[in-house]
Symmetry: C2
Subunit: 411 residues, 2 copies
């Protein structure tokens, strides 16, 4: 597919923030890339949703860089590029988390590379590390902060005691959140990335719809404040881990003890921790988004595609996807301060086999606030207790619960 | 070179902690590797310094794993393996920091792979990220904690207020330091690793002897204590950075502000931060040593060597190696508390154009202790002032200085 004249021709799909940054970065690094690969790369044409002829561009390209995003026309164009024997580099997490298996299979069949470092955690090279450095590692668990928008919002709430709405407005003002932030704050963007990471780490097909997902919309400043009393920090955490011979993939707000390697990741950064018996753990962090940063990840993939390849191998496992797992929880109850209420609360906990690790009680006039951390318990059991709490007449507001990632994270 | 029978034959040199861990790990992961590569790897023989026939082993191997360490016979055997067309995977930082260029050139000539992820920062995949993900990035600076022994000792001193000697003894008891710890505590082990990282990141030949190096032997518990007052943490930091069109590579104790991504790396861990305009920064951390961890890094390289290759490209730059750079410093002076002394001190600072950022003064009977942080200044200029301080009659003990890595590390 490579031009005989020493040029390597790149067809660019999309010309938004990342596309424009890529088109700007490539010529500045072309000489160095020529020294490494023997070929000088250049963009031969750009096609967007509304402009340009894809077939004509494909015809004259050695490799397609897909930065349009979303399912269509990205899916159709990537498919046609692969069928035409072209390598593809993409940053499209939605496409891969929903149609990855079909595209990876097609790429293996056609003997071309489909690379996607920029789809997860921006410039943090987690895809390469999982597929190459840790190709044969028996991975136990991945924890990730894979959405910079929500990490910025939670950092801002912790730092300035702002409300969720205020922090979101600040994120929008600084360009860290879009006008419609739903995809980020609902956890759905993070869920797509965790589906891709889980697929690679556990060698099992994982679809976006199989990822259990909860966003940060209901987090309040007092959650962060009480948490501080307990020595915890709050993050939107993606988790993929082996559970009883199965695989659990989920995204939800979670408290971390301050010693956890992800606890110090603040602002619009991303970070991923990979745990396995033989490696103990590796943590990687860096900017999760931004045009130049994501373009740099795309460029790393382009160079790798210019040098002989490793394609995503077929999955050889079919771990069952587990949705009910064991977790510690932070529990926040506002109750009427009258005799018998505390015993009702402990009664509900006892019925469900939930034991308390630490508790802070505050009087508030006729009301009392109980903030506690409970020991790990099966989530379904904890949620059953939560429903019972909601039904207690002494409850002043709806009970609130947030998962806690335990201090013994390396065990 | 690959056996026709679907086996991939590995000749193992060395059978110490890492060699034994590799021999144990390989069979457990062989099936997965066969699924990825189509070949089943196995160790066909082991040769150590004192036992076995290297030539016979080479003859029957597709790839040589060199875990003997040191210069000879490692250099001769690696050279002969490459000349015989065998891929080589090594963890030997001494060999590569002193004879890397000749070995990399030979590997390019012979068209074989020479991989060395395990030579730097154990399981932290910094070699792969530098040579692949960031192959064409214009890197500005690398900061690394690349020696787990010294990081454990400094963490222990900070945590328990132990002396250097006590912390070293504890490190030896836990197996984090060797009976003769000279190579680690002098910074020479870290210097070898920084030479390798600098070579890859800045595409310039760097020899171990060109790395400016200072160890941790003279650090005292009060350095750590005063530093805490100033909001700083102490690490043995390796730095490689562009300076005025040249390259500075050095290892020395340095204070970090608490927001620096390396400030939270405690215990026997390693971490590396890579800074560049287009990526902002990436930080990677993980265990820096340990048999199974290092063996896992070796295994990642073996798998990559089984799949078509990227070899270390020839250097295309010849940046001059710079040894005098600008740095902020922490300065500790014990002086006689009498009139005129403070003006002598400020006089010396003024003569050398050194300005003070923050200062803490404590009375100690007839003596006074001045602990300050000075703004960045050319090191030669600062050391000239330090010599002048040592000559002042009012000086009670030798002045002590430690570099400070500034808060604006992302600039």
């Amino acid at each position: 597919m490579t031009s005989a004249d020493g040029r390597f021709r790149i067809g660019l799909l999309g010309h938004g923030t990342v596309g424009a940054a890529f088109a700007e970065l490539l010529p500045r690094r072309a000489e160095r890339i020529a020294a490494i690969t023997g070929l000088r790369p250049g963009v031969v044409g750009v096609v967007t949703r509304s402009r340009g002829d894809f077939d004509a561009l494909l015809e004259q390209s050695d490799l397609i860089v897909e930065l349009i995003g979303g399912i269509e026309p990205a899916r159709a164009w990537v498919t046609r590029a692969i069928r035409a024997g072209r390598h593809v580099v993409t940053a499209n997490k939605q496409l891969l988390s929903q149609h990855g298996e079909e595209l990876w299979a097609l790429a293996r069949e056609e003997g071309v590379q489909l690379r996607f470092e920029a789809a997860v955690a921006g410039v943090v090279p987690v895809i390469r590390v999982l597929t190459e450095s840790l190709a044969a590692a028996h991975i136990e668990r991945i924890h990730g902060i894979v959405n910079g928008t929500t990490n910025f919002i939670l950092s801002e709430m912790a730092r300035t005691h702002a409300s969720y709405e205020q922090a979101l407005t600040e994120a929008q003002r600084l360009g860290y959140a879009e006008a419609d932030p739903t995809d980020d704050v609902s956890g759905r963007d993070a869920a797509a990335k965790m589906a891709i990471l889980a697929r690679l780490a556990f060698d099992t097909p994982v679809h976006l719809d199989q990822v259990v997902c909860e966003g940060i919309e209901r987090i309040g400043p007092d959650d962060l404040e009480h948490a501080r009393d307990l020595g915890l920090g709050l993050k939107l955490i993606g988790t993929a881990e082996r559970v009883d011979g199965g695989l659990s993939v989920r995204v939800h707000p979670a408290f971390l003890y301050s010693r956890h390697p992800l606890a110090s990741i603040d602002g619009p950064f991303n970070a991923v921790t990979v745990e396995s018996e033989s490696i103990t753990e590796i943590t990687m962090s860096g900017p999760g988004a931004g045009g130049p940063q994501t373009a740099s990840a795309v460029l790393g993939d382009v160079i790798s595609a210019m040098i002989p390849p490793a394609s995503t191998p077929e999955t050889s496992e079919r771990l069952p996807i587990v949705s009910d797992v064991v977790s510690a929880f932070y529990l926040h109850l506002d109750v009427v301060d009258e005799p018998g209420v505390l015993s009702q609360v402990t009664g509900v906990l006892g019925t469900h086999g939930i034991s308390v690790k630490s508790v802070v009680q505050k009087g508030l006039g006729h009301n009392a606030r109980l903030v506690m951390v409970v020991h790990p318990v099966l989530e379904s059991r904890f949620f059953a207790a939560l429903e019972q709490f909601a039904d207690l007449p002494a409850m002043r507001t709806a009970p609130r619960a947030i998962r806690v990632i335990e201090e013994d994270f390396t065990q």
